[in-house]
């Protein structure tokens, strides 16, 4: 009798559990759809004609798969050029930030030198400066260096902007690596640069992946700096700035904007797809401390 009651209670609990799980899933799926809807709408819009774009409202299904918007954006909208520019800028900045931030982070974390605390304090203070305050002196500096209207200007400014936070990230990561490993390398005959290159940097792979992914996303989508430094030479525009060029004084090519947006989002999604394991590892590691 008692066994029967127990079994029945368990069954009820199980059913209750299944119902609540279904409910949770329904809520999560709805929320997920709500999040994705604008992206799906843009994707659908990129296949629509301008008149359909305005007449079909929130519909996610285009009448036909019209590739004209992509062809126009790629050729007439110069997205082919913007695409190359964006790759050059993003890849360069990402690699430079990883290289310089990890080197600086390593030195700040593992070596002792006078003024180290002041440097770290200064870097922390810099993080609180809004970008808008520095753009005029930075613009002036780039102009004096003769780099205005070159991709180098964007690369240098974006790299510098990415260094502070990521140096601190690397510094924290290197601090967790046992001192003995570094000493073993010294006894084995490695000097500081070799220890960094052969031992420390490979050991910081999760952090390299995280910083790389963040930098890739930030720079791919970056708008403000590329806009300011390419204003005099449209052929240097990046995708994010290029999309904005479809906004005209009298009319705006919304379907071209949609096609451009899809083209600029796809690569970043692919990068995330390949690096998400490291990304999750690093974020989980950061939470665990």
């Amino acid at each position: 009798m008692a066994t029967n009651t127990l079994t029945r209670n368990l069954r009820i609990n199980k059913m209750g559990g299944q119902t609540s799980r279904l409910f949770v899933h329904a809520v999560l799926i709805s929320l997920g759809f709500l999040y994705m809807y604008p992206f799906l709408w843009v994707l659908a819009g990129s296949f629509k004609t301008p008149s359909e774009f305005f007449s079909s409202g929130p519909s996610l299904i285009p009448n036909q798969l019209l590739w004209d918007n992509y062809v126009y954006a790629w050729n007439e909208g110069h997205f082919s050029t913007y695409f190359v520019n964006t790759i050059i800028v993003t890849v360069s900045v990402t690699l430079l930030v990883i290289l310089f931030a990890s080197m600086a982070g390593y030195v700040l974390s593992k070596t002792q030198f006078p003024g180290k605390k002041i440097i770290i304090g200064g870097m922390l203070a810099l993080m609180f400066l809004p970008g808008g305050y520095t753009i005029i002196p930075v613009f002036d500096l780039v102009q004096r260096m003769g780099l205005l209207n070159t991709l180098w200007s964007i690369i240098l400014v974006q790299t510098a902007g990415g260094l502070v936070f990521n140096t601190l990230l690397f510094m924290g990561y290197f601090a967790t690596i046992s001192k003995e490993i570094e000493e073993a390398a010294r006894v084995d005959g490695a000097n500081l640069p070799r220890t960094y290159w052969h031992i420390m940097l490979p050991m910081a792979k999760p952090m390299v992946a995280t910083v790389g992914l963040f930098q890739f996303m930030i720079n791919w989508n970056s708008f403000w700096i590329p806009l300011v430094f390419t204003i005099g030479n449209p052929s240097l525009r990046t995708l994010a700035v290029g999309i904005y060029a479809f906004v005209g004084e009298n009319s705006t090519g919304w379907t071209y904007i949609a096609a451009g947006a899809v083209m600029s989002i796809v690569p970043i999604m692919a990068v995330f797809f390949f690096l998400q394991r490291y990304f999750i590892e690093a974020v989980a590691g950061a939470i665990k401390g």
Partner: protein
Amino acid sequence: MASVILDRVTKTFGDFAAVNDLTIEIRDKEFLVLVGPSGCGKSTALRMIAGLEDVTLGSIFIGNRKVNDLPPKDRDIAMVFQNYALYPHMSVYDNLAFGLKLRGTPRMEIDRRIGEAAEMLGIDGLLKRKPKQLSGGQRQRVAVGRAIVREPKAFLMDEPLSNLDAKLRVQTRAELVKLHNRLQSTVIYVTHDQVEAMTMGSRIAVLKDGILQQLESPQTIYGQPANMFVAEFIGSPAMNFFDARLVGKSEEIRLEGNSFDLKLPASKAAKLTGLIGKQIVMGVRPEHLMERTNGHRVDGDVLRAHIDVVEPLGSEAILTLKTGGKDFVARTAYSSELRPGKEIDVVVDMEKVHFFDPNTQAAIR
């Protein structure tokens, strides 16, 4: 291989002297153990030899060359770390090869040395694995292998067995000694474990508060400790100390304690005549105390004690005893008669007792 000399070496961190005026000559091909409790300066001394810490005062010589200002890579030493410090992203082969590659050793020579070391250590099947795929014992072997392939002038080992479980530690201890015999290398080995020190060292240097207490062979350290610290630190369970006063005349000197009155044998009495009437500390190792049996006739070597704790170890037992308010430990043959609460007569092997000055704590010989 080469000798290593520490000549009046001092290392200070601020006002604190981690190593204080340390002079040790480690002979060529010797297995020297630096032993002492935590914070005694043994690891700091080793790290100074390795070049990982600067020397504040004094000189260090490796093979007659002063190395004070040389970086670790130019000292031609290899080190085995407590946590092994293997490079986690490299395979076992690359871990072993790293130091050789940095020195520009030809590929064939690297392969030959790694092959030899791997075979010697029984890790030849693991060369492609990463450290995280190895057990603790295997990692320890790789760490030793990394040192061997370098063919250095001296091996420095910083508590390399302390992360192994008890059984593996005993086994690896013996293997390291065999390896030393085979390689005929100079080894400087740091440990806080006096059993490791006793079983492995050709000589033992006992340190306390950065100061060398005694540097002798294991048997001498055990049999003739220089002071109460060495006497207590070496030997397990530790030596017992009893406060006593020397009374009597030169032909019959007695030790009068709180709850005992013991007679000194002639061999000991001769050296202590000058101290009659003075306080002294008597040291007795637990293995030199035993329960009195019916056959025991000698007088003046027995003290009455109360059993507090019995720890049977099979054939023998460790007894925690109390006499005159003083706890002490005896290691004696086990019998089921030994029970807590029982009063027994304990025989002291008076030929093997030690004496110390209560003020300086130095041995009186």
